[in-house]
Symmetry: C2
Subunit: 229 residues, 2 copies
C-alpha cells in the first residue's frame, strides 16, 4: 500500500559548513559549475535519497565536500516556499556543521569548487541560501551561549585566548580576557594538558583539552558562556 501521489516532492539537503581560522568565523561555499545558477555561489547541497535517513543524507553531503566523518551537525530548518527553486518545487532541509578548519580534505574541497569565506565577506548566495546562513549563525549564537559547542571548531588542544577569539568571532564583540578566562575555567570542562602553545612569539599560552566525560555529561546543561543581553 502506498499513499496517493499528491505530495511527492523533491527533497534536498543544504549544509552550512562553519570553520574558524583563529581570527574569523568562516563558511565553506561552492562555486557552482552546474545548473541551475551555474557560476554563482551556494551552500553545499544535494538531493535526499529515498533510502537514507535525513542525518545520513546530511553526513553524506558533508563528506562529499570535506572528506570528514564524525562531525558536529545539527538539523537547522526546512525551507519550502513554492518558488524557492526555479527548476521545480523543492523542499530543502538545512543542516549546519562545525568543523576544525584544518582537518578537512583541502584537495577534495578544491575539486568541488569549495572556498572558505569570512562571514563578513560572504558573497551573495543563490535561492534562499543567504537566509539559511543567517539562521545558522543565529542558532550558533544561541546555542554557544548556553552549550559548549564552540570546541567543535577548535583543534583538540587549544588555548584560552584562542577560545576567546572564537567567541568574539561568533558574537562579533570584544570580551574581557580576565572575565572570560575565569568563566570558562569555572565550567570545569577544560583540562590543562601540561603543554604550551609553541607557535607564540611571546608568552606561550597553556594548551587545554576537553574533559570528555564532563563535556558529554554537561552538554545539555546550561552554562551561560555569554550573557546575551
Amino acid at each position: 500500500m502506498l499513499y496517493p501521489p499528491e505530495s511527492r516532492i523533491m527533497l534536498a539537503i543544504d549544509c552550512c559548513i562553519f570553520g574558524f581560522d583563529g581570527e574569523n568565523l568562516k563558511i565553506l561555499l561552492i562555486k557552482r559549475n552546474f545548473e541551475p545558477e551555474k557560476g554563482k555561489w551556494s551552500l553545499m547541497g544535494g538531493f535526499m535519497r529515498t533510502n537514507e535517513d535525513l542525518e545520513n543524507g546530511a553526513k553524506r553531503i558533508l563528506n562529499e565536500l570535506t572528506g570528514l566523518d564524525n562531525v558536529y551537525m545539527e538539523q537547522l530548518f526546512s525551507y519550502g516556499n513554492v518558488d524557492r527553486d526555479p527548476v521545480e518545487r523543492t523542499v530543502s532541509i538545512c543542516f549546519f556543521a562545525l568543523i576544525n578548519i584544518n582537518d578537512h580534505d583541502h584537495e577534495l574541497a578544491k575539486s568541488k569548487n569549495g572556498y572558505w569565506f569570512s562571514m563578513k565577506e560572504m558573497p551573495e548566495l543563490i535561492f534562499d541560501h543567504g537566509e539559511m546562513v543567517g539562521k545558522a549563525l543565529q542558532q550558533i549564537q544561541y546555542k554557544a551561549a548556553l552549550h559548549p559547542i564552540g570546541f567543535e571548531l577548535l583543534p583538540e588542544k587549544f588555548t584560552i585566548p584562542q577560545l576567546q577569539k572564537l567567541y568574539e568571532a561568533i558574537y562579533d564583540t570584544p570580551l574581557d580576557r580576565r572575565n572570560f578566562s575565569r568563566k570558562i575555567l569555572s565550567t570545569g570542562l577544560l583540562k590543562d594538558t601540561g603543554e604550551k602553545n609553541e607557535n607564540s612569539s611571546t608568552k606561550k599560552a597553556i594548551l587545554y583539552s576537553l574533559e570528555k566525560d564532563k563535556y558529554e555529561k554537561q552538554f545539555n546543561a546550561f552554562h551561560y558562556f555569554m550573557s546575551m543581553k
Copy 2:
C-alpha cells in the same frame, strides 16, 4: 526543465497544538479513524500540497482542526527516518502552535476526534509523534525562558498569578510568587488594564494586557524569564 525523479518523497506536516487551561499545559491529539494506525492517538497532520508554502500548509492543518487563524506557530524539526511511516517513506515537517484553549472551535475539534490531554497524561502516540512532542516541549522551555511566548497561551487579559501558573506548568516546577511578579513586571511588557479578575472567590487579581508595541519590539530581545539552572 525538471530534476530527475530520484528523490520525490511524500511530505507531511504534523502539528503539536498546545493550550493552557489555567492549571496544566495541554496538547490536542486526535484519535485516528483512518488508516494507518486507526484507533490510535496521533498529532494532527496531513500531506503537504505541492502548491503551498510550508507555513501555509501548517496553518491549513491547524485550521482544519481548530478553526483558528492568526496563531503563534513555529517550525520545529523535520523527521525522516526511512521507516518512520509503515505505509511509505514519508518525511514529516513538524510545527508547534500555541493557542488560547478557549478560542478554538470545540465542535470542529470534536468532529475530527480531537481531545485535549494534560502533558502528564498523554497517551502513547503513533510513529515518532511522541518524540515530536518531547522536542516541542523542550523548544517551548528554551524559548519561553528568553522570549515572551507564554502570552500566546493566555487570554488577552490575564493576571500575574495565571501567568505564573503557566510558567510553572511549562517548567513543571514551583516558582516564588514575589520574585516572579517582580521579574515579569520589570520587563515593562505588561499594562494594568484597571480591571480585576471577577472570577476569584478571594482577593481579585489585577488583569493585565500586553503592551503590544513593546511586545513586538522586544520579542527577539532576551529577557531571562527563567533562570535555567
